[in-house]
Structures are given as structure tokens and as C-alpha cells.
Subunit: 148 residues, 2 copies
DNA sequence: GTTGCACCTGCAATTTTTTGCAATAAATAC
DNA sequence: GTATTTATTGCAAAAAATTGCAGGTGCAAC
């Protein structure tokens, strides 16, 4: 409830309007689990309002992203995921071999954030990035030589 | 010279062929400065061979990416940049307000890499990500209230 | 409630990226 | 050198993402 009031507040405060479409889209992102794609959002909203156009989804996602109400994460395979911000911030790590995605608490970034802040004055956002790498299992396979 | 031999070697070893188009594309990425987009690569190659098709660029970039000969970086404004790997590895940080991009030596990631390795067995690649945040200047503006 | 303005939406058109396929050409073996 | 195999290319078509615009609509002021 309170978060919804906050959301509406945020949108109103930035010269934007709360339309039924936008409300459905917000709700879809909020309730469709952690990470959703544009198409998943579209499908979800269509269930309540079948006439919604994809371009509306794209445009709204872009606006919500700028307002920092949702986060955008580029997976290392190119897929883009959206996620409601407000819960726990976390890092995404994606294995470049098996595409498994691990979520890691953002406390791991604390030290990096401090260093960068101190040396460059740059203030890192915790969200947005999926770090690419190799998970334990795939690393082992690579070493043994069973890799592609 | 040696890196070119290495490159050809890498490509041959993975059941792929060294075509003139691929050679031009490699050279374009290598010599067009640090970061280039698909279109910049295409334009560059067209100067030497005007008949090259964009799809060839897309497909080759994708292959070279998988072979880890080039890195792919998603800027926080959506633009995708490609870069020759082989020089110094570095992090990209991009200000979400002014879009300025700062390059930071990857030594800053050492500690994070170790922690993640220890706790999750996940092996982070240094490349690939542009970290989003606010540069010093934009942060100050935000605090003073001159922000959008 | 009514009005006015700026934002939003859906549609259509455009641009960007991906895919299917026949022809081409690189690499290997002879 | 020639033949064989198979990845690669260019083109065209498809799919995905973006943009322009005219009409619709939220919402604030009255």
C-alpha cells in the first residue's frame, strides 16, 4: 500500500501521469517474480487489458527506469531483465557457459564502492549490472578439458 | 604481428575460417580506437569493402565475442560497445546523468573477485560491464538541487 | 463540474537486429 | 594443382525495437 502511494507520488512529482496502463504495468513488474522481460510484462498486462501495445510497454519501462523505480539488468546473453527496486539490492552474476544466474548481496560491493568513491569521486549504483564469469562447475569442467 | 597470428590461430582452432571480411572487421575493431559500435565497425569496413552486409558484422561480432577476442559492453544508455581484448583490462563506469564514461583499472576488482570466488566459487570476468552511477560533478549538482 | 494543457496511448511507419537460404569460398586431403 | 567438405557470405525476409502523430485522457485550476 505505502509503496504504491510512494510510486504514484514519484510519478506525479515528475510531471507524469498515472494511467490505467501504467498501473497495470507497475503491478505486473511487482508481482511477476523477481526478473521479467519486456515480453513477459506485455503478456501479463494483456491478460487484464488485451489492447495494450508493446510500444506502451517499452515507453513506460523506459520512464520507470529513469525514475529509478525499476532496474534494468543486461544478462550476458543479451536478454534484458526488469525488476522492481525497493526490495533488497543485489548483484547478478551470470555464468557465461551455462547461463546460470546467481544473486549476491550487495554488501560485497561495499569495498569497491568506497575505493572508487575515494579515488574517482564516482558513486556506484548497486543495481543494473549482471557480472559475467564462470560458475564453479563450469570452471572445473574447463580445467579438466570437457569444455566446448 | 604476433597478436594477429594469435588471433588467426584462435579462430582456426575453433573450426572457423579467416575470411577477408572477418579480417577487415578485426582490423576495424583493433584500430578504430577503444570502443566502437556495430555501425562504426560497419562504416569502417565499408571503406575497404563497400559490399559488406550489416548481418555479416552482427554475426562476426557475435562469434568474436564468444571466442573472447573482443569484449561487449552495455552502456547504461543502451548503446553497445565493442572493444579489442588484449590491451589492459579495465572497468567502465558510466554516469547515469551526463553519460560520461570513466575507465578504471581492473585492480580495483581484485578484492571483490577474491571474495566472490571464496564464497560462491564464481569466477568474475573483468570485462563486459559498464557500471552505472553518478560522477562527482553530477552528484554535487544533485545535492545542491540543480538536478533534473 | 468544466476547461485547458501537456502527457499518454494505439496505430502505423521506420529503424534496427536476426534469421533462412542458395551461392561462394576457405581449409584440408589428395 | 583439383576435389571435397563445410563454414561463411549477401541478399531478402522476418522479427524486434523505436518513433511520429493524431486523438484521448489525467489532473490541476477554476
Amino acid at each position: 500500500m505505502s509503496c504504491e502511494t510512494d510510486t504514484i507520488e514519484t510519478i506525479r512529482n515528475s510531471d507524469q501521469r498515472m494511467t490505467p496502463q501504467r498501473l497495470l504495468l507497475l503491478s505486473a513488474i511487482r508481482h511477476s517474480g523477481e526478473h521479467v522481460t519486456i515480453n513477459q510484462i506485455h503478456d501479463q498486462v494483456k491478460q487484464a487489458y488485451p489492447f495494450i501495445n508493446v510500444s506502451t510497454i517499452y515507453r513506460n519501462v523506459s520512464i520507470l527506469k529513469e525514475l529509478r523505480l525499476i532496474s534494468e539488468t543486461y544478462k550476458t546473453d543479451g536478454e534484458i531483465l526488469y525488476e522492481w527496486i525497493g526490495g533488497h539490492a543485489h548483484l547478478h552474476m551470470m555464468c557465461r557457459n551455462c547461463n546460470e544466474m546467481i544473486e549476491i548481496d550487495d554488501k560485497y560491493l561495499d569495498s569497491l564502492k568506497q575505493d572508487i568513491k575515494k579515488d574517482f569521486g564516482f558513486n556506484i549504483d548497486i543495481d543494473h549490472l549482471a557480472i559475467s564469469g564462470l560458475c564453479d562447475q563450469c570452471k572445473k569442467l574447463e580445467q579438466v578439458g570437457y569444455d566446448d
